[in-house]
């Protein structure tokens, strides 16, 4: 009885795990090559600091989220200078490339009016309805959304109506044509000179006079019109007001300016603004190393082949082992079957909690690992046979075989595992998925060899000592 419980302990644990996964409806997330979509690999021109790469990733993520039609974009840093952007379900590559590749357009534009003054978007032109006394008609200029009152496209050389949610509440600004762009900026940095964070801005030498002219004009204004909007990719990121200390006849000269940001968030806002001013949107400039588009049908087909091939492969392997190892084959079926469930469950858990995605290479890794897992049984059973041949008892042979097989499998699996780990550490993109599958399979295999195969073999020899039930041989032949 105790032998039986020990033998089925591991399979039962993994069956329970699988049921848990199934009830919670966790499934492995499919990679883009199995469901269709676009992936772009970007490589930074020189090796930037990790922090800058992380910032770039954040900015790309928010840009992609603006698309709306991408489910779960995945952006990750690979190696020291690569960023892998995966957009499952997306098929328009121009859009994808625009979103992640370009550094973005930064412009400085005078505020002409804003919704703070009017209470609604300055784009709305409100006239009395000639037909209905007391009613009003709302219209918008060309190129403006008639419901939101925001420009559809940001044309930097004409008047635009753009949204800002800088202060936590939305404001729509009417903006004049751009006077300066990101290209005019020499440097920007966030500092805290006294008790307030400021962003210090330095313009390039031949651009500083343009800035002086602009501030001269703005210093003559009051209220919202005194603001200078900083626009990035059609969105107002900040709209600081020109200080009342600025003389309208002189403007801000010397090619430098300081934007007071306040003190509420220990400089995070100031730092973000400085990054935007310095780099446009992306703090690093990238080369597009690789773009790959997989159509949804191709992805599905690939998955279909993978799953069917895996099933056919397992069934044939099991039939073979069953015909060769008989009773032990039955134990192998239980072992390999629950091995599969365990594999699936752990992949699903990794997807759920670690953002793992199952890619084509991962599927390939799984199929390869079928052979690896089956080999552990074969090594054990062959050693068992060798011991029997030396004339030892069934119980002793089982004990000895599992002990020796464990040593062999440990070192052989160690080779596999270190290959997987090395691939994982050094490889880029698709090879990682393969390494994870292979490494995981090796670990599960070790658990099974140690805690299942050994006990299962003990169980088998405690039930019967008939060689015909173990190998394709007759009683006298062993």
């Amino acid at each position: 009885m105790r032998v039986l419980i020990r033998a089925i302990l591991i399979p039962v644990i993994f069956i329970l795990l699988f049921l848990f996964i199934d009830i919670n409806q966790f499934t492995p997330k499919l990679g883009l090559d199995l469901q269709g979509g676009i992936s772009v690999l970007l490589t930074a021109e020189n090796e930037p600091e990790l922090e800058l790469l992380e910032q770039a990733v954040e900015i790309m993520r928010s840009r992609i989220e603006d698309f709306g039609d991408v489910q779960e974009p995945e952006i990750s840093i690979t190696g020291t200078k690569g960023v892998l952007v995966q957009l499952p379900g997306l098929t328009d590559q121009e859009k994808a490339i625009d979103a992640v590749g370009t550094t973005g357009l930064l412009s400085f534009r005078p505020v002409l009016s804003s919704s703070v003054d009017t209470g609604y978007s300055p784009a709305f032109i409100i006239t009395n309805d000639p037909d209905n006394e007391g009613e009003v008609l709302t219209s918008v200029p060309e190129g403006v959304n008639e419901y939101t009152g925001i420009s559809l496209n940001d044309e930097i050389n004409t008047i635009s109506y753009l949204l800002s949610d800088e202060g936590g509440f939305p404001v729509i600004y009417k903006l004049g044509p751009s006077k300066l762009t990101g290209a005019d900026i020499e440097n920007a940095s966030a500092i805290v000179p006294e008790n307030e964070w400021i962003v210090q801005l330095k313009f390039k030498e031949n651009s500083s006079s343009k800035f002086t002219e602009l501030t001269k004009q703005l210093a003559q204004e009051l209220g919202e019109q005194r603001k200078l909007a900083i626009v990035l990719d059609g969105k107002v990121v900040s709209a600081p007001s020109i200080s009342y200390e600025v003389d309208p006849n002189i403007g801000i000269d010397g090619g430098t300016a300081a934007i007071t940001v306040g003190n509420s968030d220990s400089g995070e806002k100031a730092n973000n603004l400085a990054v935007i001013l310095r780099y446009g949107s992306l703090p690093v400039s990238f080369e597009r190393s690789s773009i790959q588009k997989v159509s949804a049908t191709l992805g599905e087909n690939t998955l279909k082949i993978g799953v069917n091939a895996g099933l056919v492969g397992i069934v044939v392997v099991l039939l073979y082992l069953l015909s060769y190892y008989r009773l032990l084959g039955v134990l192998t079926i239980l072992g390999l079957g629950t091995f599969g469930l365990a594999f699936y469950s752990i992949l699903a858990l990794l997807s759920e909690y670690q953002g793992f995605t199952l890619t084509l290479a991962g599927v390939a890794g799984i199929i390869v690992s079928i052979g690896l897992a089956a080999d552990s049984y074969i090594v054990t059973f062959e050693k068992f046979k060798d011991e029997l041949k030396l004339g030892r008892s069934y119980i002793y042979s089982a004990e000895k075989a599992t002990k020796e097989a464990w040593r062999t499998i440990l070192i052989a699996d160690f080779v596999s595992l270190s290959a997987a780990m090395l691939l994982f550490i050094l490889a880029i993109g698709p090879i990682k998925g393969f390494a994870i599958s292979l490494g995981l399979a090796t670990l599960i295999d070790l658990i099974y060899t140690r805690y299942y195969t050994r006990n299962a073999l003990n169980l088998a020899v405690s039930v019967t000592n008939n060689p015909r039930l173990f190998f394709p041989i007759k009683r006298g032949e062993i």
Partner: protein
């Protein structure tokens, strides 16, 4: 048959080792001449755009265009087509072009979409910058060198440094076998191929290590410090069945990848992966007996 099952076969591996050795030398000569022919440009290593840079379009042939018409479209495209091929008996066409601007790529997409009557969104598209391939190769090579050094040390520590050398010879044999078959049948080498080859190397070592372990066990059982002719013979006779079983159970799932893919009328990245794997696994099983035996006999048997 039951002799084989029981490992009671009486093959004199030691005696055969000279013959195996000759076969090995002949193989090496063939491999080297194939590689020399490739270097001199008479044979071609078929590298995918991942290594050469460029753009790849894969389009379903919905308008049943014939092969002769394809020549015409190839010449009218905005970008220079370096190679094209038909898959699944002309159902799918794959075009490779030189690198171009986004506008040029778009114009090619539009043309292909019109020509094959396939929506633009359905056309498979892949673009690779010129540095990507060298990056992959560099990283792959680095991974390989670190892996081999590490494994050699491990085997030297666990068994003997001579074993490590033999394992590496077997490994080299499998690597050359894969590369040469690739050159000869001119299958495209993609990143999937690199993964497959790395897997094969892992598999080859795994197989060799299992055999070394068995050798060590047998010599210990027969209370000998070094491996003798008898130990060598008995070990390899006993291990044949395990080798056959293991290689069958490993190759069957991979083979089913190719067969299922063919049965469903689909080829793609998975068969890119499966084909080198099958070649490598067969080579790995072969080398773990036929390449290790002659060297074991030479190096170790006193």
């Amino acid at each position: 048959m039951s002799k084989l099952f029981l490992g009671n076969t009486k093959i004199d591996f030691h005696k055969l080792s000279n013959r195996f050795y000759k076969i090995f030398i002949i193989e090496m000569i063939i491999f080297l001449s194939i590689i020399l022919l490739t270097i001199s440009g008479l044979l071609v290593l078929n590298l995918s755009i991942d290594f050469t840079g460029g753009t790849l379009y894969e389009v379903n042939n919905n308008s049943n265009v014939s092969t002769t018409d394809i020549e015409d479209i190839v010449n009218t495209l905005e970008l220079n087509v370096t190679r094209y091929e038909s898959l699944n008996e002309g159902d799918i066409y794959r075009f490779r072009t030189n690198e171009g601007s986004i506008d040029q790529e778009n114009s090619v997409l539009t043309e292909l979409s019109k020509f094959f009557n396939t929506p633009k969104d359905e056309i498979g598209f892949q673009r690779v910058g010129p540095t990507f391939g060298s990056e992959i190769s560099k990283q792959g090579l680095r991974a390989l060198i670190i892996f081999i050094t590490f494994i050699s040390l491990l085997i030297s520590y666990r068994y003997e440094y001579k074993f490590a050398i033999i394992a590496l010879i077997a490994l080299l044999h499998d690597l050359l076998m894969c590369v040469c078959i690739y050159i000869l049948i001119s299958i495209e080498i993609t990143p999937a191929t690199i993964i497959a080859i790395l897997t094969v190397l892992g598999y080859s070592l795994y197989d060799t290590v299992v055999i070394f372990d068995k050798l060590k066990d047998s010599s210990k059982k027969q209370k000998q410090t070094s491996i003798s002719k008898d130990v060598l013979n008995s070990t390899f006779n006993e291990i044949i069945m395990r080798s056959i079983n293991t290689s069958l159970t490993s190759i069957i799932p991979v083979l089913s990848l190719i067969l299922v893919g063919n049965h469903l009328g689909l080829k793609g990245a998975l068969s890119d992966f499966a084909i080198p794997l099958v070649i490598g696994m067969i080579s790995g099983t072969y080398s773990s007996i036929f390449v290790t035996v002659p060297f074991l006999s030479r190096f170790l048997t006193k």
